[in-house]
């Protein structure tokens, strides 16, 4: 019986070693193709091929085109339009790409033999920091120095403001951390729990097959674990899309604060 190693699935392995590339500001970076990078590339290819095939210009859409337009409409109406408002259109490509890339990576992580890229803290941190920096850059470009009003709620007496400002500052700067940890934790937890139940199916099943008497109950446990895996996988598919949606929705909320700074914040 193989050892139960729930974390082994998160190991990054080199597939095609490449010489380190010197990235300006970072020094030499190993850009070898790993299993993680491979799944990222597959996700990008899947998304590109799907949208190349689906973004047709028929007035009466086929299934693929209808699906692409539905995703577009969801992002446009619920995320950028719903959260940011009329000015949200400019951020549609960013939110659209963010949502689809995360969702696609999450789903590919659920594929048998797949690798969960979004359960890599490095990846979720990179996406979260990128989102955070985008918000800051957009905030400064749109508002200049009045960007700092974000930490200073209007119409507040000075003593209260002195108390509130540090809290606002902290809550602002932990955003990339929470964004990264939320996605990472959800993916990690889901995969570990699924792995554990899968190991129960095998372990309890073998125990039941080899043992006699009361040990036969192991077969029952194996069956229950299997049913639980089916239920868990269903849940994991929901979580895959939900977490992508949450990430994109939070990015919208953060963008909304700086885009509509001063009105209705």
């Amino acid at each position: 019986m193989a050892a139960i190693e729930p974390m082994e699935q998160f190991l990054v392995r080199k597939i095609a070693p490449l010489p380190p590339v010197v990235v300006p500001g970072l020094g030499p970076v190993d850009l070898s193709i790993t299993n993680s990078v491979l799944v990222m590339l597959i996700a990008a290819a899947v998304l590109m091929l799907f949208f190349l095939a689906a973004a047709r210009r028929q007035v009466v859409p086929g299934r693929m085109q209808a699906a692409a337009e539905m995703i577009y409409g969801m992002v446009d109406n619920v995320l950028t339009g719903g959260i940011i408002g009329d000015k949200g259109r400019a951020y549609l490509p960013f939110i659209f790409t963010l949502f689809l890339l995360i969702a696609c990576l999450n789903v590919l992580g659920l594929a048998p033999g797949g690798f969960s890229v979004t359960a890599q803290l490095a990846v979720t941190s990179a996406l979260a920091v990128m989102t955070f920096l985008t918000v800051i850059i957009v905030g400064f470009v749109l508002n200049g120095l009045s960007f700092f009003k974000l930490f200073m709620p209007s119409g507040m007496p000075l003593p209260m403001a002195l108390l509130i400002m540090p809290i606002e500052l902290i809550s602002f700067f932990v955003r990339p951390l929470t964004l990264a940890m939320r996605l990472f934790g959800n993916m990690l937890g889901g995969h570990v729990v699924t792995y554990m139940f899968a190991s129960f199916v095998v372990g309890l099943g073998l125990f039941g097959l080899e043992g006699a008497g009361i040990a036969k109950l192991g077969l029952l446990g194996s069956g229950v674990s299997f049913a639980l895996i089916v239920a868990l996988m269903t849940l994991e598919f929901v979580v895959a899309f939900l977490q992508a949606f949450v990430f994109a929705a939070l990015a919208c909320v953060y963008l909304n604060e700086v885009v509509n700074l001063g009105h209705g914040h």
Binding site: T34, A122, M130
Partner: protein
């Protein structure tokens, strides 16, 4: 959880989270950012304009079709209204013509009736005149007959024939009585 510092190299990997092995962070981070950038450019420049244009074109087509249908409906409504108006007009004209014809016929009939009445009146008047004439003539004859009879009676009773003027005087006296 194993201690972090001596991050166990691959192959073994039990215990600590492989995600905290910082050695593979830069590669993954750079790759995910490159892929995000490529996807962003692909979506922003190729896919999203296409989808939004298609959706806009569809909305335009639908609203155009609805507008066209509305226009056609309005036109049909106007035509129906006009037709109804024409029917009403024709009906009114017909009623007017009928009333006119009726009135004309009535007037003609009344005129003819009046004419006939006048003619009959004339006939009646003429007949009455004739009757009156005949009566006065007859009355005149009655007087002559009475004179003759009186003369004859006088002659029979007295044996003397009364003269005409005497008889006339007597009759006039009798009339006056």
């Amino acid at each position: 959880m194993a201690g972090l510092p001596p991050a166990p190299p691959p192959a073994g990997g039990s215990g600590g989270l492989p995600q905290f092995d910082v050695s593979n962070w830069p590669g993954q981070m750079v790759w995910i950012l490159i892929i995000f950038a490529v996807l962003y450019a692909f979506m922003a420049w190729i896919i999203l304009p296409r989808i939004s244009k298609t959706i806009d074109a569809r909305e335009d087509a639908i609203s155009g079709d609805i507008g066209e249908a509305r226009r056609l409906r309005d036109q049909a409504q106007a035509e129906a209204e006009q037709a109804a108006q024409e029917v009403a007009q024709a009906r009114a004209q017909g009623l007017r013509l009928a009333a006119q014809a009726q009135a004309e016929a009535k007037a003609k009939a009344a005129a003819r009736q009046a004419e006939e009445e006048a003619k009959l009146n004339d006939l009646v008047l003429a007949a009455e005149a004739r009757i009156a004439e005949a009566r006065s003539e007859a009355m005149a004859h009655v007087r002559t007959i009475a004179q003759d009879a009186a003369g004859a009676m006088v002659e029979r009773l007295t044996g003397v024939a009364a003269s005409g003027p005497e008889l006339t005087r007597a009759l006039t006296a009798h009339d006056a009585a």
